[in-house]
């Protein structure tokens, strides 16, 4: 298992270093336009926050996996965990916000000791869609997690799981040896209780991230290929596939630099820039809450240490009216969400 950037004491564990890389080099020399200049061409700068639709809460960076591309730099050695007090503050906001989706992420969110309590409380509030981003392998990692599928079912949780490919080789290369088999077992457990089955209200979606320095292909075509392969090979079913572009931050940035792909990848992102995707980028309808309760425009900004540009900084001070219409904080990593069909935590945006 590889180690997190923090554990390795890599210079990229420092977010200032990442932002420096993203602002200098080809963007400083003018070989490529900055994201700000690019969106200014179509009068889309500054990007403005619209009505809040998705509240995304990161309950901690601890994870049982250490994936090569992880933008969170999550892993077993990460100790940042949301406390019940911060969760309570989040619940107060969930009760009064008009957001239709509550998106719980991590790390492996299930590893937070108060995760189940939080899910139980959150599911009582009446948010339309409560989703948990599960890495699947957590369900079989330890006996205490084996009943997670039943727990999710009981609270009508929408399960969104990562799956970079329908073959063992490509999956294990990105996510670690044995991850594919463990994921298949977890998907079978979920299918067995109704998750992902046609017309089932128990929603099971998969997330696809490219396993390398290239963009995701057409989301619908990939979904078709995933569905056929998983059904034919393992009799597994799921609802939708979200194709997500890897953003050049954290461990994926480390991989890009180490494999001498960084500049080519940035060229690829900029060349694939789609102004139509800018209008629907997720930061305009999302607020991301970190494990310690601070607010960000998206999970990627959270991992880059780019806080929300607003008087309101923390979930305890949350005020929807003051947050609405704020300028979104951007940098060159934002090209990842505007390439091709666009990308968000819910997949393509166009």
């Amino acid at each position: 298992m590889i180690k997190s950037l923090h554990k390795r004491e890599s210079e990229l564990a420092n977010t200032h270093k990442q932002l420096e890389i993203l602002s200098n080099g080809i963007f400083k020399t003018g070989d490529l336009p900055t994201f700000k200049n690019k969106i200014s061409e179509t009068n889309q700068f500054p990007l403005k926050a619209k009505k809040l639709e998705v509240l995304q809460i990161n309950v901690g960076y601890m994870c049982n996996q250490v994936c090569e591309h992880c933008h969170v730099d999550a892993g077993p050695d990460r100790k940042e965990i949301m406390t019940r007090t911060t969760m309570q503050q989040c619940l107060e906001v969930i009760k009064k916000t008009g957001a239709h989706t509550l998106d719980l992420t991590g790390g492996a969110p299930e590893m937070n000791p108060d995760f189940r309590w939080f899910v139980e409380e959150a599911s009582k509030v009446g948010v339309e869609d409560v989703m948990v981003r599960s890495n699947l392998t957590i369900m079989t990692a330890n006996k205490k997690y084996n009943d997670l599928p039943e727990f999710f079912k009981k609270h009508n949780i929408h399960v969104v799981s990562s799956m970079p490919h329908w073959t063992r080789g490509k999956t294990d290369k990105q996510r670690g040896t044995g991850v594919f088999d463990a994921s298949i077992n977890a998907l079978k457990m979920l299918n067995a209780i109704g998750y992902g089955m046609p017309n089932s209200p128990l929603k099971l979606d998969l997330v696809y991230n490219p396993s390398g320095a290239f963009l995701p292909g057409n989301q619908m075509s990939l979904e078709k290929d995933f569905k056929k392969a998983l059904k034919d090979d393992f009799d597994i079913q799921f609802h939708n596939l979200f194709a997500i572009t890897n953003l050049p931050i954290s461990r994926f940035l480390d991989y890009l630099i180490a494999s001498d792909n960084y500049e080519d990848y940035m060229y690829t992102l900029v060349e694939a820039y789609n102004p139509a995707a800018v209008a629907n980028v997720m930061c305009t309808n999302t607020i991301s809450v970190s494990w310690d309760g601070y607010l960000y425009d998206c999970d990627f900004n959270q991992m880059l240490g780019l806080p929300i540009n607003n008087k309101i900084k923390h979930i305890s001070e949350y005020n929807e009216d003051l947050l609405k219409g704020r300028d979104i904080v951007i940098s060159q990593h934002c090209y990842g969400c505007t390439a091709g069909a666009g990308s968000s935590c819910q997949g393509s945006v166009t």
Binding site: T167, G169, P216, L222, D225, E271
Partner: protein
């Protein structure tokens, strides 16, 4: 003076071909786009055929383009290599099948 005949950056300029003959260039790119749309064959199958042909005609631009295209489509390296072996087998077979002509000639002339 340019040191090599091929520059990877030229691939991105392919569309500029139309600048010197708009009518034929446009017709070609319309046709090209249509060919790769899903039909009796899937786009994925067409991408693999293109990759195999790219190696047969030894076009570095096409190899670059269709390797990337294959990765985006989730085509595995095992599938890509099998497609190349199909191309290699046909290409090698095309040489070897002419051996029959050689054998015919030898058999006719040799005592």
């Amino acid at each position: 003076m340019q040191k090599t005949y091929y520059d990877p950056a030229d691939l991105k300029k392919f569309g500029k071909i139309s600048e010197w003959n708009e009518e034929l260039g446009s017709k070609f790119f319309d046709y090209y786009g249509k060919v790769f749309e899903e039909g009796a064959l899937t786009e994925r199958e067409k991408s693999l055929i293109a990759l195999a042909v790219a190696h047969t005609i030894q076009c570095p631009y096409c190899i670059d383009a269709y390797t990337g295209d294959g990765l985006q489509r989730g085509i595995t390296k095992e599938e890509m290599m099998e497609a190349l072996h199909v191309a290699a087998a046909i290409r090698g077979g095309a040489s070897l099948v002419h051996g029959v002509q050689m054998m015919n000639k030898v058999n006719k002339l040799d005592m």
